[in-house]
């Protein structure tokens, strides 16, 4: 094997990992600042200028806190839970194409860790696994509130995965591929999938909110009823892992939405930029655009959280099973008919 290949991938993975963690860290800061902005407050402003060091302070605090494992908890699973949540959150970014192939000298470097031909399925698999962290943590805590929360999380994620999967099927009909790289390539310029699949995107986005346990679907950690739910008994960095995993999941969901429906690194006028800047810098600019889209989605997540109330458990299920799934199926049928008509006539 080419040693350069190994180095390339190693560097890419390291950067990705660092970026995921950095974005998760600063998402916590951004969340507090956005909340403060929406609520007429200042938000964190003590640590460093504009409170910019607040995430570091929080991180140090998390590490220094005493670690408490409840006496009656299942110790092994209690420790596995947050680890699993974090692991599943971090490996999701592996199949995301971050930019067009970059050319340095005569070497072509793909800005993607791996382009597996079922990339979309991989992402779904990883997201589905994510709920195990919550379930195991909630169950192992041996606390009734945590258990209720774990049950809520499990049923919520399973229900919304179905609608999410169905909304993706319509997208697959349009794109004819499961490879994320290909799907993104097809959306060259301004030819974004969103224009073909607006309803699909809406369903996907609602499900993404539910999958990441964000408001208005944050029932598993509903602070008014379940006092934090599955991570109620956790302390120290184990708690930090759960909170971090949530923000990384939010980042991954935003990334997937941006890549599938909003063209990923594609933007109008990209050919002109590529011609002007050359094949080394233009892809990086595409990556920059991609991140802008991701940040816009992350902001949207926060905006929603601080604006609307949360659903009740049965209303959540009703929305998932009685509204989103029929809509997604209708979307598949309409998409199929339109494609069949445009191909044959």
């Amino acid at each position: 094997m080419d040693i350069n290949f190994v180095i390339e991938k190693f560097v890419l993975i390291t950067i990705l990992f660092a970026i995921s963690l950095l974005i998760a860290m600063y998402s916590t800061y951004a969340e507090r600042k956005v909340a403060a902005f929406l609520q007429d407050r200042l938000g964190p402003d003590r640590a460093g200028p504009f409170g910019i060091l607040q995430p570091l302070a929080d991180g140090v605090k998390m590490f220094m806190k005493e670690e408490i494992i409840p006496a009656n908890a299942n110790k092994w699973l209690f420790m596995v839970g947050p680890g699993l949540a974090m692991l599943c959150a971090c490996i999701g970014t592996a199949v995301i194409p971050w930019g067009q192939d970059m050319v340095i000298g005569d070497r072509v470097i793909p800005l993607q860790v791996t382009d597996i031909n079922v990339g979309l399925l991989y992402i779904f698999g990883v997201i589905s696994l994510g709920v195990y962290g919550v379930m195991i943590g909630g169950w192992a805590s041996n606390n009734k509130y945590s258990l209720l929360s774990a049950i809520r999380a499990a049923s919520q994620n399973i229900s919304y995965e179905i609608a999410m999967g169905l909304s993706i099927i319509a997208l697959l009909l349009v794109s004819n591929s499961l490879s994320l790289k290909e799907i993104v390539e097809q959306q060259h310029g301004f030819n974004w999938n969103f224009w073909y699949q607006p309803l699909g995107f809406l369903i996907f986005m609602v499900c993404a909110f539910a999958e990441t346990n964000r408001a208005p679907f944050d029932l598993p950690e509903c602070e008014a009823e379940l006092n934090g739910g599955y991570h109620m008994e956790y302390s120290s960095m184990k708690l930090g892992f759960y909170l971090f995993a949530e923000y990384i999941n939010m980042f991954v969901s935003s990334t997937v939405m941006a890549a599938l429906y909003f063209g990923g690194y594609n933007y109008p006028g990209m050919d002109y930029i590529a011609a002007q800047w050359g094949p080394t810098w233009a892809p990086l600019f595409g990556t920059f655009i991609f991140f802008m889209k991701i940040f816009a989605f992350i902001f949207f997540f926060m905006w929603v959280r601080w604006t609307i109330p949360r659903f009740r458990y049965d209303q959540l299920m009703n929305l998932g099973w009685k509204t989103l799934i029929p809509l997604a199926i209708a979307n598949i049928i309409v998409t199929g008919i339109v494609i069949a008509l445009t191909n044959n006539f």
Binding site: A35, L38, Q39, D40, R41, K144, Y145, L148, I151, R152, A215, P216, D218, C222, E223, A224, E225, N227, W306, T307, I308, P309, R310, F311, R312, Y313, D314, Q315
Partner: protein
């Protein structure tokens, strides 16, 4: 029922039910009280309420205190609207002593009471929003409670446990800053309240969460002697301010809002509308105060109203009264009185039996939270956990008033 032994036992291994302790320290209880629930998944099968975690035996303590020293005890009943409790107590004693209160004092008292009603309703309604997850709406309105406390601070020096007023009137007149602050509040608060309503009243999720939850029939509400916004939400227009006016409430023009189904949404709407009506009352009271002679802030009852320090040092009569009041030399008439005011949560009554001495022979507080709460466990049966918690928030159970 539930004293120092488990309410439910989980001995049956075949049982599908889970016992869940909701409280005593649970964020949704907003105070110290417990509900032991039998849960079938998310659904509550049955529940038992345990109260008394902050029982301070106020009624017993009151038997050993002169009347004017009982006011601080009433502060600690419903501490979200202490001034109403204070005023209710003063008026009870005034009824016992047959003291006529000047109109201006009545109006000033109405201003204070309506301000505290607003602060009480702000707490309840924003907490409903908070418990449904709408934190931002909670914060929008909640800062106005702070402004109300600033007004209280200007009027009496204290914020939460106000100990406001004295038997026979107020301990001092409103100063110019206090009036300025009230006017400022009247200008700013309606804007925020309108914004708060626009965020929730037509919010689909909020309506889904609250409408139809914990519906109560008029019959059930009356059977449990509910009063206040909870009763009015069922459609019964009982308001002590109207049915038995005190402190010159008959001089004011305001409406008593009623609901239809008694569910959480109706209670929320009733409380919101009451805030609007309170604003109206305060505006009218400010106008009325202007027409009254200036500077009167207490009735002329030297036997019971403590004279100012300056007078005590310079005037023999005042010194004598001061001594007699403080040493408890003045006896009150032998009588039995009941006086009720419309508190934040309903009819707040004081049942006072005096045997002629300087302290009550027996004093009973009719605490609306305690009486309203008696239906809670029964209401919760068959509810989802989330609904039970919204229901609790909308009943505005204040632990201090629940346990006394």
């Amino acid at each position: 029922m539930a004293h120092n032994h488990p309410v439910y036992t989980d001995n049956d291994p075949q049982s599908e039910l889970v016992t869940l302790n909701l409280g005593p320290t649970h964020p949704a209880t907003h105070g110290v009280f417990q509900n032991v629930l039998q849960m079938d998944g998310e659904r509550i099968v049955s529940g038992v309420s345990t109260i008394g975690y902050i029982h301070r035996a106020f009624e017993k303590i009151a038997e050993h205190r002169p009347f004017y020293q009982i006011t601080p005890l009433t502060d600690r009943l419903n501490y979200c609207s202490s001034p109403i409790n204070n005023m209710g107590w003063h008026m009870t004693v005034e009824k016992l002593l047959n003291i006529q209160i000047p109109k201006r004092v009545d109006y000033l008292r109405v201003i204070i009471m309506e301000l505290s009603r607003i602060s009480d309703h702000i707490i309840c309604n924003t907490i409903i929003a908070q418990d449904t997850g709408a934190t931002t709406t909670f914060l929008y309105l909640f800062q106005f409670r702070e402004h109300i406390y600033e007004i209280f601070e200007e009027i009496c020096g204290a914020r939460l446990t106000t100990n406001i007023g004295r038997i026979g009137g107020l301990e001092r007149d409103f100063n110019e800053i206090a009036f300025a602050k009230i006017n400022k509040f009247l200008k700013e608060f309606p804007v925020a309240l309108r914004e708060f309503e626009s965020l929730l009243n037509r919010n689909r999720i909020f309506i889904d969460r609250t409408a139809g939850v914990a519906e109560v029939t008029q019959e059930a509400a009356l059977n449990y002697s509910w009063t206040g916004p909870l009763l009015r939400a069922t459609g019964i227009d009982y308001d002590v301010r109207v049915s038995e006016p005190y402190s010159s409430y008959q001089d004011f023009d305001f409406e008593v809002p009623v609901g239809t189904s008694g569910d959480v949404f109706d209670r929320y709407l009733v409380r919101n509308e009451e805030m609007w009506q309170s604003i109206r009352i305060i505006e009218q009271a400010l106008e009325k105060v202007k027409t009254e002679p200036k500077g009167i802030f207490h009735a002329d009852v030297p036997d019971f109203y403590l004279p100012g320090k300056e007078e005590v040092y310079n005037n023999m009569e005042a010194l004598i009264y001061h001594f007699k009041i403080v040493m408890g030399e003045i006896d009150a008439p032998k009588a039995e009185v009941y006086h009720a005011v419309e508190g934040g949560n309903g009819e707040l009554g004081f049942y006072l039996i005096n045997d002629g001495g300087r302290t009550p022979y027996r004093l009973h507080f009719r605490r609306p939270s305690f009486i309203n709460y008696s239906m809670y466990a029964k209401m919760s049966e068959g509810m989802l956990l989330s609904d039970a918690i919204i229901n609790m928030s909308s009943m505005n159970i204040i632990a201090g008033e629940l346990d006394a």
